[in-house]
Symmetry: C2
Subunit: 474 residues, 2 copies
């Protein structure tokens, strides 16, 4: 059984570390937590099944066993609920916001003067609030605007097709209607496969089919199609607006901010690792203490699995047009580009991490020789990354990054010169390998960091980051 779970060790600990070093990225956190939960559940099941007392007992004893376990289960459940809320209190707030929006929208049904104006169709506003209300402002706006646009255009098309159908004979009408519904539904379903459409308008296209079918099909039985379409569109817009207003006004979750923090934190994690690695790997063994902050410097591991969110988040962030800090034309794509570069850099760093875990007990002569330029590369590029992270987070122009990068380039030249001129004399290969590999990998990592720096500088000029106030000497 133990062996069985040993294979999960890597992802499991990686996940735990990510949970500990949790950043603001709710999306990613949810997925990770799901995997973790699944692993823990598997673990619990395994223990239950392995318990011979329960396994080999009769049905009655078994029921008793479960009976005894039940209070534990309830306590466990309560703990889980509490933890879920504590981890991200925004979730509780979101739940209450949904409740509030629903109560507000159902007032249109309860209060007679409002009901008289909108009528039975106000139930549509309730449906819309439930379907449109999402965790982040971007997602809610995206769904709401998609919904309104799709409803308007599909409603108009539906009314048009209905008019066309009424021109034909009474028997021909359902045939014409059926033909149009099938054709338009098939076409729009196909359009949904287009990657560019899928990324931003998938929901709108679905609603387009829905509204078009509703209006043109029910137009067959309802006499006042125009009035019906008008009422529906009004209620749908009403519902969307209520959802959007409550989402924005009460403790909003801006996905653009989350994306920015995510990217900045990821760059910072790479910097943390490099700085930690430099001081740890080349430490003289006698000085070495058990590494207490291993989880901290290995925070970058979360990058290896988080690639896909950034694309989704950037797509959603684009809907948050009115966010005060970002404005209408914020270059969200640039964040995705920086994310990709960071991700590639994390792969290279993963190779370094393997050497941190390998059991080198003595820093041999070769190791001491390359120690100085290698630690220099680590600390300088680490500083550059942390400066870049802070620039992204605070939306400042990065100022001293170039100096750090130049320093690490110089250190690389020194290191290369040492490697080229070093001659092995009857040395043990397996002893030299780790240090030499680390050196080669470091030489490989710096160009990646230069690319990240260039991309961040591009972002800074595209998004007009402000120059930090320089201190004037008195």
């Amino acid at each position: 059984m133990e062996e069985d779970f040993a294979v999960f060790e890597f992802p499991f600990t990686a996940k735990l570390e990510t949970l500990v070093a949790k950043d603001n990225n709710g999306l990613y956190y949810t997925r990770l937590a799901a995997e973790l939960e699944a692993l823990v559940a598997k673990d619990n099941n395994a223990i239950n099944i392995a318990d011979p007392k329960i396994e080999n007992a009769g049905p009655f004893t078994r029921a008793c066993g479960w009976h005894k376990l039940l209070p534990n289960k309830i306590v466990e459940m309560a703990k889980k609920i509490k933890k879920l809320g504590q981890d991200d209190p925004q979730r509780i707030i979101h739940s209450l916001k949904v409740g509030l929006a629903l109560t507000l929208v159902s007032l249109f049904y309860y209060i007679q003067p409002l009901y008289d104006r909108i009528g039975e169709n106000s139930i549509w506003a309730v449906i819309i609030v439930i379907l449109v209300f999402e965790f982040s402002v971007g997602a809610t706006l995206g769904k709401g605007l998609n919904r309104m646009l799709a409803t308007l255009s599909a409603g108009a098309l539906g009314v048009g097709v209905h008019h066309l159908a009424t021109l034909s004979s009474e028997k021909g009408e359902p045939i014409v209607l059926g033909f149009f519904v099938a054709m338009i539904a098939a076409t729009v379903t196909f359009v949904r496969f287009f990657p560019t459409m899928k990324a931003r308008y998938d929901y709108g296209l679905l609603i387009f089919i829905l509204t078009f079918s509703l209006v043109s099909v029910s137009g067959y039985r309802v006499d006042k199609v125009l009035q019906m379409a008008h009422q529906r569109v009004t209620t749908i817009i009403l519902g969307s607006i209520i959802a959007i207003v409550i989402c924005i006004c009460i403790r909003p979750v801006w996905i653009g901010e989350e994306l920015q923090n995510l990217i900045a934190n990821n760059i910072e994690k790479l910097g943390n690792f490099l700085q930690g690695f430099g001081s740890e790997f080349f430490k003289i063994p006698e000085d070495r203490q058990p590494l207490s902050d291993i989880a901290f410097i290995q925070g970058y591991k979360s990058l290896l699995t988080s690639k896909n969110n950034e694309e989704t988040m950037a797509n959603l962030a684009r809907w948050e047009m009115w966010h005060h800090r970002f404005g209408l034309f914020h270059p969200w794509k640039q964040y995705v580009k920086i994310g990709t570069l960071t991700w590639q850099c994390a792969y290279k760093i993963e190779a370094l991490n393997n050497y941190l875990n390998s059991k080198i007990q003595t820093l041999n002569e070769f190791g001491r020789k390359i120690q100085e330029p290698s630690t220099k590369i680590c600390s300088e590029s680490g500083k550059a990354l942390r400066e870049l992270a802070s620039a992204v987070k605070k939306m400042n122009q990065p100022t001293s990054v170039n100096a750090h990068i130049e320093n690490s380039k110089t250190a690389i030249e020194n290191l290369k010169f040492m490697l080229d001129t070093y001659h092995l004399e009857d040395a043990d290969l397996q002893e030299i390998m780790p240090s030499a590999e680390v050196a080669l990998t470091l030489i490989d990592v710096v160009p990646c960091i230069v690319k990240i720096a260039d991309a961040v500088q591009e972002l800074a000029s595209l998004a007009h980051f402000k120059t930090p106030a320089t201190r004037v000497s008195p």
Copy 2:
């Protein structure tokens, strides 16, 4: 500008390769295609912007430029549509299936005897078909069953709450209703954050809120709540069943099959790489020809980004309970486990791939020495992986895998012995490094493959894979 796109080189070519070596995984393909499309679009934009004729021209010339570009755009669009259909004809079939299902369900509205029985609520069946119909059987079944269960339970609860509300005074009724709606909506919204619930029942929980609110809120105005709830439930079940039947009966896409093929293809890709690498890296430079099938052996790169789908696919596959090959209790979780192991193995292999690209021009003495055991490890473990892949695909017990693994373990012992006993005499470090690193990485890769083999064997026993008919000697 060129430099700007150079940073995209790695993901871009990786994606292209994945598209070429496209397997049946529609989900993943869509996402990749989206990224590719975005990159290409960016590329096109960049070219347009960079075109000084358009950039520096006045508004009129610019309009003319666009006017000239328009026919090209249309042709391009048509090509895109054609390609999208050719890449996966199943998409066209899916679009037509949606059209057919909608036409069928709207018959309930057009045909008088059917309409008389179900009434105006039959429009709900139309809504349901549009919302429930998904690309794969698993997703459609998941949504359909979620929808039916949620509607039944929420409908019952809604009727109950309505009764409770009618017991209070006329003024109190909307207050009681509002309280329950807000409370239950907030609670269920919070429950949706639970990872285990989110994975399988997210849609059901959303529909639960929707139906409960609909029944209890509109119950305030409608007198015959029970009859209304009954009619809605009937039409929703009707719509779900039509969607499910058409999805299953006409050229179905079983996501379980796709998951199985995905896992098998991934294992095979690892095998392809190892076999190709062994023969390529240790080739004597004079024999070396330009590697024509580099894209083929680098197919494993798609694994590095595809991790998350497997979890989703396994969750959906579990709904395909009636698939003839898999049965009700197929161990879908085991596929996710194998997927995780394959993914870890791909990381290690990525390190090997870097050496394939490095410019080693001569196979030095050291390289020749380790050539024999290293190529043996590559070919034997490659064979083991390909056998495992075919076992998963054909659902056969893997038979000769253990022999191949034993062979590669023996080769590893030989290689370790050589490394331990090899002494460097005034050799150039940078010359020896690549071969030595490859050797160490290979020693690291085999345990990963053993884990994959164990997991596949566990799957074979859990899912009762059949033993392939052994040939009886005459």
